[in-house]
């Protein structure tokens, strides 16, 4: 399975995201913001960082990068896409996910290991977890406060689209402690904390982040088995 990791000008965590996908067992393809070709990848990770220096709003410029035009179309067609931190901001700016990420309410950059509760295991990126599982992964953001109107928040809750919530402390003021959400189809997930930094004992607070990457491999294997059963060549 081929997982593409996009590099924008100002991306920081593309290397770690690629490494995490590799450790999970994927073939990693590095994608470039200026190249609209996805090079046949089966899933895409939009990494953390400060694409285009966060000019205007976080993710606002990256959303119009040539690679994003292709990713937006492919995501609407079911391609699994995980946006981490700045990647989450880009997915909101691209309207693949509802709401927006705003300045942390306390105005401080927060950088710490953070407990989350996985709320939805029905997505392409969280099927390896159990519902209600508590995980520990790093969070590091200045503009991670998730906001949306009440109707959207209620809809996310009712449809089981809140993927993870902050527990034992909300690091940025996000409404309803939301740390991660998904789209209606469950193939697009945005998460503010960084699973790619929690995949090895040497550098991470846990190995909990690996589950996001093994999940998508499992989802893809399931999809490809289904396609083969249906008589298609994968």
């Amino acid at each position: 399975m081929r997982i593409g990791v996009v590099t924008f000008p100002g991306s920081l965590d593309d290397g770690d995201a690629a490494r995490a996908a590799r450790i999970a067992g994927a073939d990693v393809v590095r994608l470039w913001h200026g190249d609209p070709d996805l090079h046949g990848v089966d899933a895409v990770v939009l990494p953390g960082g400060f694409s285009y220096g966060d000019a205007l709003r976080c993710g606002a410029i990256a959303r119009f990068a040539p690679v994003m035009e292709t990713i937006i179309d492919a995501a609407r067609g079911g391609l699994p896409v995980l946006g981490i931190c700045n990647g989450f901001q880009i997915l909101c700016e691209a309207h693949l996910l509802p709401g927006a990420l705003t300045r942390n309410q306390h105005l401080h950059f927060r950088n710490r290991d953070q407990f989350l509760r996985v709320e939805s295991t029905g997505t392409a990126w969280t099927n390896s977890f159990t519902a209600g599982q508590e995980i520990l992964i790093p969070v590091k953001n200045g503009e991670g406060c998730y906001v949306a109107d009440e109707r959207t928040l209620d809809q996310l809750e009712a449809e089981g689209r809140v993927v993870a919530r902050y527990i034992r402390g909300n690091p940025n003021g996000s409404q309803r402690d939301i740390a991660a959400i998904t789209n209606e189809a469950g193939n697009v997930v945005g998460i503010m904390p960084h699973p790619e930094h929690a995949v090895e004992a040497l550098t991470g607070p846990s190995l909990d982040g690996l589950g996001f990457f093994t999940s998508v491999l499992r989802a893809l294997a399931g999809a490809s088995a289904g396609a083969n059963a249906g008589g298609h060549q994968s």
Binding site: A60, A100, T102, V147
Partner: protein, 85 residues
């Protein structure tokens, strides 16, 4: 030459922690009669030819403002008039 000015503001229901921080600092300047400060962004656009308000509106809606959290207002500023001000 005329410029198109786009003013982008957070929607009233969106918390503005930067504005609050400024409001909280004002008493240190001896200012005690300010109840609220909200911070926005002013963007000036110069077209090659005549200012095109419709195009400016499209640019503002697609890129300059995020309609999920922000409102924008557009007006044309004549540089000659602006200098008088």
């Amino acid at each position: 030459m005329a410029r198109v000015v786009v003013d982008v503001m957070l929607k009233p229901e969106i918390l503005d922690p930067q504005g609050q921080a400024v409001a909280n600092a004002l008493p240190r300047l001896g200012v005690n009669d300010v109840s609220s400060v909200r911070i926005g962004r002013r963007i000036e656009i110069e077209f090659v030819g005549e200012p095109d308000l419709d195009r400016a509106r499209e640019i503002a809606d697609k890129l300059l403002a995020n309609p999920v959290i922000e409102d924008f207002a557009i007006h044309v500023v004549d540089d000659a008039a602006a200098e008088v001000v």
